[in-house]
């Protein structure tokens, strides 16, 4: 493709956009909205993922021991299990002190006897199959019960799955809508120029030559929408990040660099794809001359 030809395509495409500027604007807004959904969808899913990983990473299992357990032997056996980073023993006396300190009272129990069991804290390696590990720990002699933040991890994973399903569905519906809008916008240009297209075909223009300005018009629309969406998503994420930092500092969101790093190519790429496909669709019918 010659540079001169590319200039011609770009000129024709911009003219098409300008001629139907109201419709073009509508198309860009629609694309922006749908890419916003995509952007936020990505942010939510990746943060959920992040939370789940983080939750696993900071997870400590608490293993309550039976009364007849041998803490030393048990700990030696525990560290042998893969996925266990280290273990620390908390005697029931230490446990009682911790409780007294945290609850601010000394009258913890009615009887003189300490009802707390001995306990071993198990710190996990980052990559670990939680369920398997717990099952293995439970089989050890002297283990009464294994307690961990199972529900929290489960909840995060469930939220992630719901977001996925809803998000994919939403993106599919909105995607179709976007294609419809782009298709209609460019079809206006195609229709306005059908005489020109007919003459082009008659004097021997190749289909590619005729098609490119319209494809380019679609790409311009897609990228235009992408640019606006990108600005809004990334700005709002920074804003939201600050808000969370101030009001819920325990929630560690993914850094804006990480999010924007992906969105910077994801949103324009999807906009580009939508635009190109929409352009192709709109010209298809008119090429059969």
């Amino acid at each position: 493709m010659k540079p001169r030809t590319i200039c011609y395509y770009a000129k024709e495409a911009s003219m098409g956009l300008y001629r139907n500027r109201l419709m073009s604007l509508t198309a860009i807004i629609t694309i922006t909205l749908s890419l916003l959904i995509l952007g936020y969808f990505y942010i939510i899913v990746s943060n959920c993922n992040h939370f789940a990983t983080m939750a696993k990473a900071v997870l400590e299992l608490r293993v309550y021991l039976t009364k007849d357990a041998d803490p030393i032997e048990l700990q030696t056996n525990m560290v042998k299990i893969s996925g266990v980073e280290n273990v620390s023993f908390v005697s029931k006396e230490d446990g009682a002190k911790w409780l007294e300190k945290n609850l601010g009272t000394k009258d913890l129990y009615v009887t003189d006897e300490n009802p707390l069991p001995d306990m071993v804290n198990v710190k996990l390696a980052k990559e670990v199959k939680l369920e398997n590990l717990v099952a293995k720990l439970r089989k050890l002699h002297g283990v009464e019960e294994v307690v961990y933040g199972k529900n929290f991890v489960k909840m995060v994973l469930m939220v992630e799955r719901i977001v996925w399903i809803v998000g994919i569905g939403l993106i599919a519906i909105v995607g179709l809508f976007v294609l419809y809008i782009i298709n209609n916008t460019i079809r206006l240009t195609v229709f306005a120029r059908r005489k020109e297209i007919e003459i082009m075909k008659l004097v021997g223009a190749t289909d590619g030559f005729i098609r490119w300005p319209f494809i380019l018009e679609g790409i311009f629309l897609g990228l235009g929408g992408a640019l606006v969406a990108l600005l809004i998503v990334s700005r709002s994420y920074v804003f939201f990040g600050k808000y969370i930092e101030q009001n819920a500092p325990f929630l560690q969101l993914l850094s804006e660099q990480m999010i924007n790093g992906v969105l910077l190519w994801l949103i324009p790429a999807v906009g580009f794809g939508f635009g190109m496909f929409g352009g192709l669709l709109s010209i298809k019918k008119f090429l059969r001359v």
Partner: protein, 234 residues
């Protein structure tokens, strides 16, 4: 007739065209047109003249039969080869089909631009063709500022700017007065002298009778007459 080429430029063998609505536009047409010929295509409206021309540039494919243009079979031709065929076959219409938002120069240059011709080539070729059709001074005007005859000459300039082997004209004088029509035909004769084969579908009895060229008559899709020095009707 001057024998210029070593082969028949246009070759129809048993060509039938039946449209999807059942209309039989052409019925078993056999004919040869040699390189350099000037052929009139006559017959009442609906006789199949336009279909005949459309088949040559492969805007339609025949339902039956074989068509060769410049030895190439249009039936075997691949879709991507069609543009090359059309660059070798110019076409003018009764309604000119000019682009109203482009000047005379741009309308003609357009036919070269779409073939990705070099700008230098366009700047050389377009004025030359406009001079040939006598519109050099009107290059900057828009089609609406021209008379019908002038518009048809712009369309002619556009049709020949890529130096086609064949020029097809579908009732080019249909909207023109007798004098203007005659002027256009003289131009076509000039172009024919330079080696372009011309097939002109027409209802213009005066012109056909005066020119005494080959006349092919169609009626109801059938080839009913093919005279070397023919007149409009017998």
């Amino acid at each position: 007739m001057i024998w210029l080429g070593g082969y028949n430029l246009i070759h129809f063998q048993g060509v039938s065209k039946i449209y999807s609505n059942g209309l039989i536009a052409l019925d078993q047409v056999n004919l040869e047109i040699e390189k350099g010929e000037f052929v009139f295509l006559v017959g009442p409206s609906g006789a199949g003249k336009t279909t005949f021309l459309k088949l040559i540039i492969r805007r339609e494919l025949p339902t039956k039969g074989q068509i060769l243009v410049g030895r190439k079979s249009l039936l075997k031709m691949k879709e991507r080869e069609v543009p090359r065929l059309r660059r070798n076959v110019g076409f003018i219409f009764q309604d000119y089909k000019l682009l109203p938002n482009k000047t005379v120069f741009e309308n003609v240059a357009f036919a070269m631009e779409v073939t990705e011709a070099a700008p230098k080539e366009i700047l050389r070729q377009v004025p030359a063709v406009l001079e040939l059709v006598g519109l050099k001074d009107k290059a900057k005007l828009f089609p609406t500022e021209l008379s019908g005859g002038e518009q048809q000459r712009v369309s002619l300039a556009r049709a020949i700017v890529n130096r086609p082997l064949i020029l097809l004209a579908d009732e080019p004088t249909g909207n023109l007065d007798p004098d203007t029509s005659w002027g256009l035909v003289e131009l076509l004769m000039e172009i024919n002298k330079r080696g372009t084969t011309i097939v002109m579908a027409t209802h213009n009895k005066l012109i056909v009778d005066r020119m005494l060229r080959r006349v092919i008559a169609l009626d109801n899709g059938k080839l009913v007459r093919d005279d070397q020095k023919g007149v409009y009707d017998l």
